[in-house]
């Protein structure tokens, strides 16, 4: 067994090349900046960086080059992600949930024509995409979405309401799960569409969440979408959803790197060194708490590493994705209480002299919200239990439910 990604000499040269290139192109405004609270200018800088990365094939480094991806192998792709992480940036360097998850589904389920049309704008960073699943009455039960697409000549007309969507500063496209068949044909009545964000009939109203984090409600009123934008076949959306959710529940490289929790850890280390924190590392309670935080974030990282390896090697997987995701959620929830213990009143208001403070305070909001997005903790447990066939007699057929 070897836990290390082994870098050959040429890969080490690649790392140096990536690092040098990033040092040249990443604007200083983005270093240590928090996307959740950035203004439009900073967002545009992120998008510029995305386009620059895209032009080199580094925005989606493992995606096929014929569609604008980098065609790199896992080890090289990790180098790109790691070097961005060193600068406090993700890959893509902006919120692009519909791009990451939608492109994985399109690559798997799309026709050649669709791949040629829909993937390049994502891979090259020309398009930022939100994912539109949740509705006011369809959250965990995402198969119950009531937004409908009705055929009209060569197009579909889509109407309905989606909630908890996206982030600040809008999107160029929406990757949406909608109903195309009768309500009673559960799991056989759904379809995925890539909707152009500039289409008539889309209204976006902001939804303010805890800690000043912004999501949106999106109203779709007879939005006209060409039939070619339906991906994976009419009423085949439930199968496609598995590709989408599988990625969301554990196959992302940011999980592999334990990105979010590791960043929180770095800020904690910075925070305890800040005189305003009032934390003394001579205090055995503090020492124990720091050790617990480190232990938990490393455990999450290593389960993520296993999951990523399983996926990339195409090995059989059952419960692992939702397990890693669940543990990451729980750890993020717990971390908020650990920070209150560690920093006291300084955990809820930024009193720090250095840069770490704002992000430490934000952990309170992230902690309260961690369990819900991308499927609640219960849903992760449900998927694991099904994968383990708990409560199912050994002889019964293994048809998916």
């Amino acid at each position: 067994m070897d836990f290390h990604v082994t870098y050959s000499e040429s890969q080490q040269r690649f790392r140096a090349e990536v690092a040098q290139w990033l040092a040249d192109v990443v604007p200083s405004e983005l270093l240590g900046s928090n996307e959740h609270f950035e203004n439009r200018d900073a967002y545009e800088l992120r998008r510029d960086l995305g386009r620059s990365l895209g032009a080199r094939g580094w925005l989606y480094p493992m995606a096929p080059p014929e569609y604008g991806g980098g065609g790199l192998d896992l080890d090289a792709a990790l180098v790109v992600a790691e070097e961005l992480r060193r600068l406090g940036l993700g890959l893509p360097p902006y919120y692009d949930s519909g791009g990451v998850l939608g492109s994985a589904s399109i690559l798997h389920w799309g026709t050649d024509e669709q791949k040629a049309e829909l993937l390049p704008p994502i891979y090259r960073g020309e398009q930022r995409t939100w994912q539109l699943l949740t509705e006011p009455s369809a959250g965990s039960d995402v198969a119950a979405v009531a937004t409908t697409a009705v055929r009209d000549g060569d197009d579909y007309l889509i109407s309905g309401q989606k909630s908890f969507i996206g982030s600040l500063h809008g999107a160029d496209a929406h990757w949406a799960l909608v109903r195309t068949g009768p309500a009673e044909d559960r799991h056989h009545n759904l379809s995925w569409f890539m909707i152009d964000g500039s289409s008539a009939g889309i209204t976006i109203t902001p939804q303010h969440l805890l800690g000043g984090i912004d999501k949106n409600t999106i109203f779709l009123d007879e939005v006209r979408v060409p039939a070619g934008r339906l991906v994976g076949g009419e009423n085949k959306g439930w199968q496609v959803a598995f590709t989408h959710l599988d990625h969301e529940h554990g196959l992302r490289s940011d999980r592999f790197l334990g990105q979010e929790l590791h960043r929180a850890w770095e800020r904690i280390v910075e925070g305890i060194a800040d005189p305003a924190s009032g934390v003394s590392t001579d205090d055995p309670v503090v020492v124990d708490l720091l050790a617990k935080i480190y232990v938990k974030k490393e455990t999450v990282r290593l389960l993520g590493k296993r999951n990523y390896w399983l996926a990339m090697e195409n090995r059989p997987r059952t419960y692992e994705g939702p397990q890693g995701y669940y543990l990451e959620k729980k750890t993020t929830q717990w971390l908020a209480s650990a920070l209150l213990e560690l920093f006291g009143g300084a955990a809820t208001a930024n009193v720090f002299a250095g840069d770490a403070g704002a992000a430490l305070v934000e952990q309170q909001a992230l902690g309260a919200m961690a369990m819900h997005g991308g499927g609640t903790g219960e849903i992760q447990k449900l998927i694991m239990s099904r994968a383990l066939r708990l409560g199912k007699p050994a002889t019964s057929a293994s048809a998916p439910e």
């Binding site: 959250g139 305003a276 209480s337 209150l340 809820t348 902690g367």
Partner: protein
């Protein structure tokens, strides 16, 4: 034994809850609007700022009723420095009992003085802010305190300041919030607005200075301890609100064609929430009842805060799990409780601090050495 509330106490709790609900709806959480200030006057008129003031000083001290009041106010996360005005400032001022402190007590009871109390850990008392290093320097104040909540509401800041001009080493300095040198900078915060308060160069001539003689410092510390259980009661009210919202929601929200309350995993969250709530409630009631009955029940008070701060956090985390997305929407109504659960976690001492004080009060170390001479 009788563990019930009286009819009057139930009524007080309901009135307080309804009052706080209206105050919150009036938008008072963002700061002292005209509506919020008239709500403040109403609280004074109802006598709520007199429940921590001894009769000899013009109030009608009733520790248990005060707790019941705070529980009711906590049920709707009542905005503003109500805890400072109804509990902490009166307790500290009563313990000093000078002409100046009496005058301030009168102002607080009348609703004309809206105090925010700043106590740092260095004083040995339970602290209300993360850091408070305000000092008397010649004829002026120097230093800062942070993070401070509710500052926009305050007419006066009561700060326990280091003061080497007399033997006691500490003075209670009452700083009007409109004096020169008083600078409040807003901080990025989770929850209610928070400030860093700077008082460099605030002239003492513009303040009331109440020197604390050496024997009186212990009295001030006790006054602060005596204020903790009512804070716990405020948190109990907030936990109750989290439970009520969660139960109502799980009996109304449908997913997969069922009420989510019928899912065992959702039931588990409600049950954890209920355990948190009841643990907080009964440790708090015990402390309040002992306090009403006799000498300061130090053990019960530390027990209550050690339990309640953690229970408040657990209750809100569980409530969020029951609600999922909608609970995170700040317009829904759970957010003010989530914010409180974090603001108050270390306010007047973190759970770890109270656990340490609890063990000290139990005198465990002493008794072990007494019975076991080989113990380290």
């Amino acid at each position: 034994m009788d563990l019930s509330l009286t009819g009057e106490q139930e009524q007080l709790r309901r009135t307080a809850r309804d009052f706080a609900t209206r105050a919150r709806k009036s938008g008072a959480a963002r700061g002292p609007s005209a509506a919020a200030l008239s709500a403040w006057a109403e609280m004074a008129k109802l006598g709520w700022f007199s429940l921590a003031v001894p009769e000899r000083l013009g109030g009608y001290e009733a520790p248990f009723d005060l707790g019941v009041l705070m529980e009711g106010l906590g049920m709707a996360a009542c905005p503003g420095p109500v805890y400072d005005a109804a509990v902490l400032a009166p307790a500290v001022l009563s313990s000093l009992d000078t002409a100046d402190s009496r005058e301030l007590l009168t102002g607080i009871q009348a609703g004309t003085v809206r105090p925010v109390v700043l106590i740092g850990a260095e004083s040995g008392a339970a602290s209300t802010v993360h850091r408070c290093d305000v000092r008397v320097m010649g004829d002026a104040l120097a230093g800062a305190a942070f993070p401070v909540r509710h500052l926009a509401w305050a007419t006066h800041v009561l700060v326990l300041a280091a003061d080497t001009t007399h033997d006691g080493g500490w003075s209670l300095v009452v700083v009007p919030t409109d004096v020169t040198g008083y600078v409040a900078d807003e901080l990025e915060a989770f929850g209610d607005t928070a400030h860093r308060l700077q008082v460099d160069g605030v002239p003492l001539s513009a303040c009331v200075v109440i020197p604390i003689a050496p024997p009186d410092l212990a009295g001030v510390r006790s006054a602060v301890v005596s204020s903790v259980a009512a804070l716990c009661a405020f948190q109990v009210g907030s936990c109750q609100a989290a439970l009520d919202m969660s139960v109502a929601y799980c009996n109304q929200r449908m997913q997969f064609g069922k009420l989510i309350g019928s899912f065992q995993r959702v039931q588990d969250h409600i049950i954890e929430l209920l355990i948190a709530l009841d643990s907080a409630r009964w440790t708090t009631y015990s402390a309040l009842a002992e306090q009403a009955a006799g000498p300061l029940p130090v053990v019960e008070i530390h027990l209550a805060k050690a339990v309640t701060s953690e229970a408040h956090l657990a209750a809100c985390d569980s409530a969020h799990e029951v609600h999922a997305g909608i609970g995170c929407d700040i317009d829904y109504g759970l957010a003010p409780h989530t914010y409180l659960s974090r603001d108050l976690h270390a306010y007047l001492g973190s759970p770890a601090w109270h656990r340490r004080e609890l063990v000290a009060a139990l005198d465990l170390v002493g008794s072990r050495t007494a019975t076991d001479p080989t113990a380290p």
